[in-house]
Symmetry: C2
Subunit: 416 residues, 2 copies
């Protein structure tokens, strides 16, 4: 049986109520969320989520990195499960929907199946990935990277937050260092519903984003080395002020994004570490975290090359030494055509307006996509604002996406 | 008796040995000093200094802010004392001579008088000012500002370092919160010997800097406010990246210094505080510490005005809001003509080459100059480098300055 013409619908009021309950845990004065990975607040929302899943009849497993898997059994004992989920952690000044919507929509899907007493052929597993944001432990998306084996558990445990607490210690503290061993082999596919975190759907008044792939990202740590000196007597021509060098790097990077922005290019300096960063001293070191993003891998690489070509002039003008100390890249892949077709068909059957999009942010689905057929679905979000306490969606904004998720997953899992 | 033709000379080897002993206390791997105000190391060098002063027959007093005054009595019970000194604290990556030379040259002066069994008419008081650098507690030069009454003891005690330790607590910890009450009324004058911290004497191969006054300094805290957003999906035209705004502020400030550098102008961005300063987030706040310096007060004010005039264009190009949140100014005054004449005459009598200079850094002498006849004497320093572990002078570099200090102070104090 295929559900194309089914009228199974989620209970949007129930989903909204779960979202609003989550929004109380780590709530900020400005109405956003501060729920850093493996913090006390993350522990609290995890316990609430586990309770909800168990009440919905799921069996909960926690793996070594703290990813939570809640399984609703299927009818076929040999069928691999469909994963549905995202993450419950947030940025320091984060919003109430980024990641959370994807997890709680998975829960709502299970609750809806329970309402209708329906059993799918494949099991359905709701997943909450650990430390997606990377706001406490770097790199981000470490839960899914450990699940797929791209990173080792030992590597992950040793990541430390700014206070020196390791990820392993933080897992122990909140009681979420699990013993269950799960890997992509256990699963059939992954569906992740997420707010767009950009303005395209909102501006074009489209209801559902069909995510076909991901932007190419080229990240880098730039080190600007100058020379310590006294702010007072050191004459301008003798200075090597690393903040001045960093300012020239920032504007060179900014220009590279602007000159490609009409084709979707973006460039960012997002983080600076200055030393010694004191009154009266010319600083000798700025470490900068930067990245370039573009829909086309070749253009993303070209942006990085353009920056490299700009370095000698920056060095000449600032007197500083500019070095790319570290580089990384991700994205640039396409999601699974079969899974994408399921989401596109679901939206069409339900009469929703859609837009094809690429993910411009990092998502756990990008890690999993190398191992399992994967799709993402985007909902609009107000003004495209995200990683911001003012991040917002209405129930009407997310209803189409939640329906598309439900229908796609049911079609993938099959009704027994 | 006037000492113009005297051949009283300091024991430079003894002074150098004291400087090298000081250089062991808080020594860094690179051979500089990390001896933050009121740290354990500062406590240790203070105890050594007190021991030396007492061995030299001085009476030591410590005031409420921890300034140390070591008095060698004079012959005239009604005569006010001549102060000679500077500071023993350093920057985080500081050098071995900045401040320290001025204190230990005062000690050498006393030891030399002892060698010759000479009594001056006025008492001579060696002073070590607390927290000159401001590297641990802000503002800098707080010891002299409390001595003169420009700042209250309560204000000073409440200053906190980056770990939240207050200046009052730090004084208690190292046992240097004294009970002695001293004020400018007790004193006749102040002489401060200091390394130049700039390259002029070194480049011109002059032996002694006759300091006639101070640069005018206009300091400011600039706040750049942008908007938090996701680094991935936020299109370039929708961004308000505070780091980009801060880069434009930095270069505008840098340009203002460059365009006045031939007349001695300097402009600096020295410190940045970025929020949230995280991977994946467009930052919404950069707080910048900046200053403008020029020999002429009107030009210094003009540099600040030029920056204010540049703000609207910076805001337009970055999308950020730029505000001057705090402002301060100091310097711009002249030292005492009588004291300056003593230093100039001493240098001439001794046959040293001289150069008239302005202080371009802040010094305790600048606070005291509003209350007492004051002079400063500069020695050359290698390459003008200071506030740097590589700061260096040779014994030959400092010998002329130490002799000029000794002779000027003896002439001011008078021989009984």
């Amino acid at each position: 049986m295929v559900l194309r013409s089914s009228n199974i619908r989620p209970d949007m009021a129930r989903l909204w109520s779960s979202l609003m309950r989550s929004a109380e845990i780590g709530r900020t004065a400005k109405g956003g969320l501060k729920r850093l990975a493996l913090s006390e607040e993350d522990g609290e929302v995890r316990r609430e989520f586990v309770r909800w899943c168990e009440e919905a009849g799921c069996t909960v497993q926690v793996d070594g990195i703290g990813n939570i898997f809640a399984t609703r059994p299927g009818s076929d004992p040999d069928a691999k499960a469909v994963l549905v989920g995202s993450h419950l952690d947030t940025q320091i000044k984060g919003g109430r929907f980024d990641g959370i919507l994807g997890v709680l929509a998975g829960l709502e899907l299970v609750r809806t199946l329970n309402d209708h007493d329906l059993t799918t052929r494949r099991p359905i597993v709701i997943v909450d990935w650990t430390n997606e944001e990377g706001a406490r432990f770097e790199p981000p998306m470490i839960g899914s990277a450990t699940f797929t084996g791209q990173k080792s558990l030992d590597f992950a445990y040793a990541r430390a937050d700014k206070d020196g607490v390791t990820l392993g210690q933080a897992l122990d503290r909140i009681g979420f260092k699990g013993a269950d061993r799960l890997s992509p082999d256990t699963f059939d596919s992954l569906f992740e519903l997420h707010i767009e975190q950009g303005p395209k759907l909102d501006e074009a008044k489209r209801q559902v984003g069909i995510v076909t792939g991901a932007f190419s990202v080229r990240g880098l740590i730039v080190e600007v080395r100058g020379e310590v000196g006294h702010v007072g007597p050191t004459p301008m021509p003798k200075r090597k002020n690393a903040i001045v060098g960093a300012a020239r790097v920032t504007l060179a990077i900014d220009d590279i994004g602007w000159s490609r922005h009409e084709t979707g290019g973006k460039s960012t300096t997002m983080r600076l570490k200055v030393e010694p960063n004191l009154l009266g001293i010319l600083p000798d070191l700025v470490e900068m975290t930067c990245d370039f993003r573009h829909p086309e891998a070749a253009v993303a690489s070209g942006m990085l090359a353009a920056f490299e070509a700009a370095i000698p002039e920056i060095e000449r003008r600032s007197g500083c030494k500019v070095t790319i100390k570290e580089q990384w890249s991700y994205g640039g892949m396409e999601y699974d055509p079969g899974c994408i077709a399921l989401t596109r068909d679901a939206a069409e059957d339900l009469g929703y307006s859609t837009m094809d999009l690429l993910t411009e942010a990092g998502h756990d689905a990008m890690h999993v996509a190398d191992y399992l057929p994967t799709a993402m679905i985007f909902t609009p979000c107000e003004g495209g604002l995200s990683h911001n306490e003012a991040e917002n969606v209405t129930l009407a904004d997310i209803e189409p996406g939640v329906n598309v998720l439900l229908r796609s997953v049911l079609n993938r899992a099959g009704i027994a």
